[in-house]
């Protein structure tokens, strides 16, 4: 059963900007005729969770409990695996493993890089 975690259920402005984009995989994939049930980044996300677990930076059980709470509250209306990704970012921001400013800045840089490729 779900176990209470220490995650902060408060909304995070940066992540809130992403929830209404209607760009989740289950919406986009059919538009492009893609039948793969998972987006290309899903495996990398799974590996990231494993790495954080192995290193001890974010133990898997703590992450899963926090993820459960966020999935039932803040990101309830977001489909998987986007919900899992948002929850991971939310948890890492909440624990101070990364900062919101750094993340926003890096996201701009990553998008710029990808769009010029």
């Amino acid at each position: 059963m779900s176990v209470k975690s220490d995650v902060d259920p408060g909304r995070i402005a940066l992540l809130e900007t992403m929830r209404n984009t209607e760009k989740t995989w289950d919406t986009l994939a059919p538009q492009y005729g893609v039948t793969n049930p998972d987006p290309p980044w899903k495996t990398s996300l799974v590996a990231m969770c494993d790495c954080l677990d192995v290193s001890g930076a974010l133990p898997g059980l703590e992450r899963r409990h926090a993820e459960d709470e966020l999935a039932d509250s803040v990101y309830r209306d977001v489909p998987a695996p986007e919900r899992q990704l948002l929850a991971l970012a939310h948890i890492m921001l909440g624990r101070g493993l990364i900062s919101e400013d750094d993340l926003a800045s890096r996201m701009r840089a990553v998008r710029s890089r990808l769009e010029t490729a």
């Binding site: 989740t24 005729g33 990398s44 590996a47 790495c51 677990d53 192995v54 990704l85 996201m107 990808l114």
Partner: protein, 238 residues
């Protein structure tokens, strides 16, 4: 959208690339950004991430299907599976110690295979989180991770199985096995009638992921899972 590539073969043929989503989403960007920051902050290394990614892409339910099919036709192998499943997995090329040499924190090297009989049916769940025998079955389906499945299966197993389309007669006992941090489970279903003289490869084709979780039964002609799991708050009335 699909592209047609003419790889300079003088028109002798053309290749059609698989369609792909041709836009960059915030989610794709977010995953990369979080990962890069985590690596820069020393939370893990790029090399570790590459290793786990390759491992995650290498595992899938086909390994579990092979194990079940082999157990069905080779009683000695089945006995070894029941005695030490992790050790028996090596016979089908699955090493639970991958990718670190001691498994992953989510894949403890302790597996128990649950053998069904005509009067006993097993189904697995992880009520605590989403523990799953990944080396044999790959990544868990999303419904397996939901609190909906985890909470309700232990309370109303017969009804929840019915929602998956698996209606078991009352005389069949249903045993729910709850995975935990120290042990993983997988179901060895009963070999269905009508599969006499089948090859191991052909048998493996009907052992789908859902059969090894226990929310479906193998049967001739069924080679893919459909999982119309409901989001009902109450079990169906039967």
């Amino acid at each position: 959208m699909s592209h047609t590539h003419n790889p300079g073969d003088g028109g002798a043929g053309e290749r059609h690339a698989a369609p792909m989503v041709e836009e960059i989403t915030d989610f794709e960007v977010l995953e990369i950004a979080v990962r890069e920051l985590a690596i820069e902050h020393g939370l893990f290394t790029a090399e570790d991430h590459r290793r786990f990614t390759e491992w995650a892409e290498s595992v899938g339910p086909a390994a579990g299907s092979r194990l079940v099919a082999k157990a069905w036709i080779d009683p000695a192998f089945k006995a070894r599976v029941m005695e030490d499943a992790v050790k028996a997995c090596k016979e089908i090329g699955i090493d639970w110690a991958e990718p670190t040499g001691f498994g992953t924190p989510s894949d403890y090297m302790n597996l128990r295979v649950l053998e069904d009989t005509p009067t006993l049916h097993h189904v697995i769940v992880c009520t605590l989180c989403s523990c799953y025998p990944r080396p044999l079955l790959g990544m868990s389906p999303e419904w397996y991770r939901t609190t909906n499945y985890r909470r309700r299966l232990v309370r109303w197993p017969r009804e929840v199985l019915a929602e998956f389309g698996l209606v078991l007669p009352p005389e069949v006992e249903i045993r729910v096995e709850d995975s935990n941090q120290k042990c993983r489970f997988m179901v060895l279903p009963v070999r269905p009638e009508g599969t006499e003289n089948w090859t191991e490869k052909r048998l493996a084709e009907i052992v789908t992921r859902d059969c090894m979780i226990g929310v479906a039964l193998p049967r001739p002609g069924r080679t893919a899972d459909v999982h119309p799991v409901q989001k009902a708050g109450r079990p169906v009335q039967r």
